[in-house]
């Protein structure tokens, strides 16, 4: 089975779960005065679940034939690309998301930028470090001081 049909299968599961919630579990908690309404919070989702299940089955059962075209990246040979770099960058983003609050914006961002280019193979520290520090500083200044959106600059222990 090709990847697009696997994905259709997964999405079918999502639609079925969604539909189950909409058709069977949501209406129970509806307050009585709302039950007189012609439209319930579950009305629109019910329609959507039918639409979604229908469209997923069309792909899954192969009713619609599409010509196979040359993809930009062939997922069957994923190992031949720079998969390691991509995964490490994703991990880095997750770590950044988790650290942004506790560590503070300035430290988290400059390490994100430095480690990001390090993962991609950059080793010129004399360029990487200044670029990261200047960029972090100027973005922080713009967002915090000019636009007035609060971002904790330093770790919480320093009272930032």
């Amino acid at each position: 089975m090709a990847l697009d049909r696997w994905i259709a299968l997964i999405l079918l599961g999502v639609c079925l779960t969604y539909g189950y919630t909409a058709w069977f579990t949501m209406d129970g908690s509806l307050p009585p005065f709302m039950q007189r309404n012609p439209i319930w919070p579950s009305t629109f989702p019910k329609v959507l679940s039918i639409l979604g299940v229908g469209a997923c089955s069309i792909i899954l059962l192969g009713f619609e034939k599409s010509e196979v075209k040359e993809a930009d990246i062939d997922y069957r040979r994923l190992g031949e690309y720079h998969l390691g770099q991509a995964i490490s960058l994703l991990v880095l983003m997750v770590v950044y998301a988790l650290c942004l609050r506790p560590v503070g914006f300035l430290i988290a961002t400059s390490s994100f930028l430095i480690l990001g280019s390090f993962i991609l193979g950059e080793r010129k520290w004399h360029i990487m470090l200044p670029v990261a520090f200047v960029a972090t500083g100027s973005v922080w200044y713009l967002v915090q001081e000019v636009l007035g959106i609060y971002m904790r600059p330093l770790p919480g222990v320093f009272g930032g």
Binding site: A2, L3, D4, W6, I7, L11, V14, C15, Y18, M26, N37, P38, I39, P41, S42, T43, F44, P45, L48, G52, A55, C56, I59, F63, E64, S66, E67, K69, A71, D72, I73, Y75, L78, Y81, H82, Q85, A86, L89, L90, M93, V94, Y96, A97, L98, L100, R101, T109, F112, L113, G116, S117, L120, G121, E122, V131, V139, V143, L147, I149, Y150
Partner: protein, 503 residues
């Protein structure tokens, strides 16, 4: 009207107001380039500055300049980095980004600037002529028609899908609509589908989803398979538009400016729908061989949404200035600013305070001109962004996508959602699922459900579909739009198999 024009010119051409336009355009362009800060947030940030000036005309002129600048800045990031920060510029990335990939970033930005200029200017002329009359037409549209109009907009997505892709486009649209139902609906105030997670109470953020669908997979693809963003010879070339290209895009710009303006007049429709519909319409009426080009760097495909969204921005001032009804989030903020300045927009505005009404219209012309003059010389420098070495560019793209999602919601969970959806989007991209329909479905989903519920309540059931002819007509168009591509594909296959057409 002539008298009004002169009043407007007199007000708008004072040194102070000219400076306001220039400053507004510059601020808007530069901040608008950062994904995550759309016109709405920039205007909201500028309101304290505008109000403290005290002069309503000057304040409105400044804010209008910021608005235009932000829309143009937003197209810059969607063309260069495939990171649309504003819903209205999502359609610009469909063809703008492929052009940038082919080394034609300069040309793409030039086309965007010219198309925006033309769209804004034509929109302003139409606003001047039609504003009084249009305000009554806009009131004819009820929630039932809005619902139908959005269904048409979503069905037009079938136009984005190539042959044999309609079912995939429908799935992605449905997924977008489903994601839009997560969180509290406006009419019910009950959390739905949040799985008990507090952070989902307010639904998914638009910026988060836009970044996850477009910017993140694109950046991951660049990591997986390094490609030079520059042209073959490593130079950014083709800044100028040739005569043939100018000839090709002129009718597109003309049509889309008019269409975009009229869509923008409808409250609630706005620049987003205008740009998607503009793209779909131009794709459908283009000759067969040019249709293939759409999505791969067609100049028409870039010019259409760019002129449509700017014309629609201008159009959205019609209900604001004539009825006092804000048609979009941005104009709602403008309305707030106006009221704070002791100006009440409405039918009496043109009579009571003509200098405000007309100076805003004149400042639209000036704003568009200033944008063009400022931006054309800057384009080579803006396009140089792509010449930044890959090792630095990619971390920065990732960082800006994260920042965009973070600034909007100030919530670190949003960043985890971003990464999660980004990985899903990359998998979908591998399997050749179109990602744009999902985002369009998400943007329109909330509005669509609200209008649907409202008309259901007004008519106590779904009777509004057949009792309102305009709704029925629009829905019929929507059905045709979905069925036509698959019918065409079937006929093409039948013809390829040697079956005669029968005519």
């Amino acid at each position: 009207m002539l008298e009004g024009l002169l009043i407007g010119l007199q007000t708008a051409f004072s040194i102070q107001n000219l400076l306001m336009v220039v400053a507004g355009c510059l601020i808007g362009t530069f901040i608008g380039m950062l994904p995550g800060l759309g016109p709405m947030s920039i205007i909201a940030i500028m309101i304290p500055v505008a109000i403290s000036m005290g002069d309503p005309s000057a304040a409105l002129i400044l804010l209008a300049g910021v608005y235009y600048g932000a829309i143009f800045g937003g197209s810059t990031s969607s063309i260069l980095l495939n990171a649309p920060g504003v819903a209205g510029t999502v359609a610009s990335s469909f063809d703008g980004y492929p052009m940038a990939r082919q080394g034609k970033a300069g040309k793409a930005l030039t086309i965007a600037a010219i198309a925006s200029f033309a769209g804004g200017t034509i929109g302003a002329i139409l606003l001047m002529v039609f504003a009084p009359a249009l305000s009554s037409v806009a009131l004819l549209f009820h929630s039932a028609e809005y619902f139908a109009l959005m269904v048409v907009g979503l069905s037009a997505i079938a136009a984005f899908a190539g042959s044999g892709q309609v079912a995939k486009a429908v799935i992605m649209t449905t997924m977008g609509l489903i994601m839009a139902t997560v969180g509290e609906g406006a009419l019910f105030n009950l959390p739905r589908f949040t799985m008990g997670i507090m952070d989902l109470q307010s639904g998914f953020g638009f910026i988060t989803l836009a970044m996850a669908m477009f910017a993140l997979p694109e950046a991951l693809f660049l990591v997986l398979k390094p490609k030079d963003l520059k042209g073959d010879d490593g130079k950014i070339k083709d800044l100028r538009i040739t005569k043939a290209e100018a000839k090709a895009i002129t009718p597109v710009i003309g049509r889309q400016s008019v269409q975009g303006f009229f869509i923008g007049v409808l409250p609630g429709a706005g620049a987003t729908i205008a740009s998607f519909l503009g793209y779909a319409v131009e794709r459908n009426i283009a000759p067969k061989d040019e249709q293939e080009e759409f999505g791969k760097g067609s100049i028409k495909g870039l010019a259409a949404p760019e002129s449509a969204n700017n014309a629609a921005c201008t159009g959205s001032f019609v209900p604001l200035l004539t009825l006092g009804i804000p048609g979009s989030g941005t104009t709602a903020i403008l309305l707030g600013a106006l009221i704070a300045l002791n100006v009440t927009p409405g039918p009496r505005l043109m009579l009571d305070e003509p200098q405000i009404f007309w100076s805003v219209i004149m400042s639209m012309f000036i704003g568009n001109l200033v944008l063009l003059i400022l931006n054309l010389p800057l384009i080579p420098y803006i396009a140089k962004v792509l010449a930044v070495p890959r090792n630095y560019l990619i971390p920065f793209i990732l960082f800006f996508t994260l920042m965009g999602a973070y600034i909007g919601q100030n919530n670190a969970t949003e960043l985890l959602i971003l990464v999660g959806f980004g990985v899903c989007a990359t998998a979908l991209k591998f399997a050749d699922y179109p990602l744009a329909p999902l985002l369009i479905g998400f943007i329109l989903g909330g509005m669509m459900e609200d209008n649907f519920s409202r008309s259901m309540q007004l008519y106590d059931g779904i009777a509004f579909i057949w009792e309102r002819p305009m709704t029925l007509g629009l829905l019929a168009i929507a059905v045709l739009l979905v069925l036509l591509p698959s019918y065409r594909a079937r006929r093409a296959r039948a013809r390829a198999a040697g079956v005669a057409d029968g005519d």
